[in-house]
């Protein structure tokens, strides 16, 4: 049972920590993040700005809840959907052969899309573990 608890704790801190970090970095420089979003060429200009304004704060809220151990299941649910969304965006970028800056953690030209995809997969696994783990009653 202690093993499971450690797994729960690590999944929570990993997922929450990464979301919190990614959110804070991008919230500090929304215009730079808007450029990264524009690089994906998926949204009109206003859409890029809206995503850049709102998404980092959603990530911050989700990350904070996960790290704090409050509302873990709904927070993990949002994290899972966001990761699916990020992965879809990266796959579309790879399919179109675009040369983009991932933007996952602010301006970051060093991360190739394939690595970002793997990272998202790991985070998705952590989110799914939090959603489907045994004894869902002990969420706090």
């Amino acid at each position: 049972m202690t093993g499971l608890r450690w797994l729960n704790l690590s999944a929570r801190l990993l997922l929450g920590g990464v979301f919190l970090w990614a959110g804070v970095v991008k919230a500090l420089d929304p215009l730079s993040f808007a450029r990264s979003v524009a690089g994906y060429q998926l949204l009109p200009q206003l859409g890029n700005l809206l995503v850049a304004a709102a998404l980092p704060w959603v990530e911050i809220v989700v990350g904070t809840l996960l790290v704090a151990g409050r509302l873990v299941r709904p927070a993990a649910l949002v994290a899972a959907w966001l990761n699916l969304l990020f992965m879809a965006a990266i796959v579309s970028v790879l399919a179109r052969g675009l040369n983009v800056d991932c933007g996952c953690f602010g301006h970051d030209r060093a991360t190739p899309p394939e690595l970002a995809l793997l990272r998202d997969l790991l985070l998705l696994a952590a989110a799914l573990w939090l959603l489907y783990r045994p004894s869902p009653s002990s969420t706090a």
């Binding site: 215009l31 690089g39 304004a53 990530e59 040369n99 030209r109």
Partner: protein, 163 residues
């Protein structure tokens, strides 16, 4: 699939997203109201040497190329080989950022240089332009709309490794 259908978690998840959006839009409303920085004062073909990369638009690029400017592709070589502006030189930012001293003398000093990459979301052209200016090139301009705008305008595209 219980948790994805669990109404309480779903409702709370929606509330989390809404809360984050409201906070984010509240904090960043200035980002939405200011127009994205757009270049003003288009440069003329005979613009004097500038210490800062000037942004140029597609019509200006065509005019400058006709007047003897050199197009410089800042994207990775693989993308250059797939398609680039005719007569352009491949100077991938990612290769030269570690060796900026190699830029000196590499390109003609007497021609305006038009740097481009993959458009608005891509910074390589601007970053390379700054390296070129630091390396001593005097007339360096950035074609911000980049290769996608050139291609989408139906202008000729060259492929293969022509340097």
């Amino acid at each position: 699939m219980s948790s994805f259908c669990d109404r309480r978690s779903l409702g709370q998840a929606v509330a989390i997203v809404l809360f984050g959006c409201v906070v984010g839009l509240g904090v960043n409303h200035h980002v939405l109201t200011v127009a994205p920085p757009t270049p003003v004062a288009p440069p003329t073909v005979t613009a004097p040497a500038v210490p800062y990369p000037l942004p140029v638009t597609l019509p200006e690029v065509r005019e400058l190329l006709a007047a003897g400017a050199l197009a410089v592709d800042a994207r990775p070589r693989a993308l250059f080989n797939l398609g680039h502006l005719p007569m352009s030189r491949s100077i991938p930012f990612e290769e030269f950022v570690t060796l900026p001293q190699r830029l000196a003398g590499l390109l003609p000093a007497d021609r305006p240089l038009l740097i481009y990459c993959s458009g608005f979301g891509c910074r390589d052209s601007f970053d390379l332009a700054q390296l070129l200016i630091a390396a001593g090139y005097r007339d360096v301009r950035v074609f911000e709309d980049g290769f996608p705008a050139w291609r989408d305008a139906g202008l000729p595209v060259a492929t293969g490794e022509t340097r």
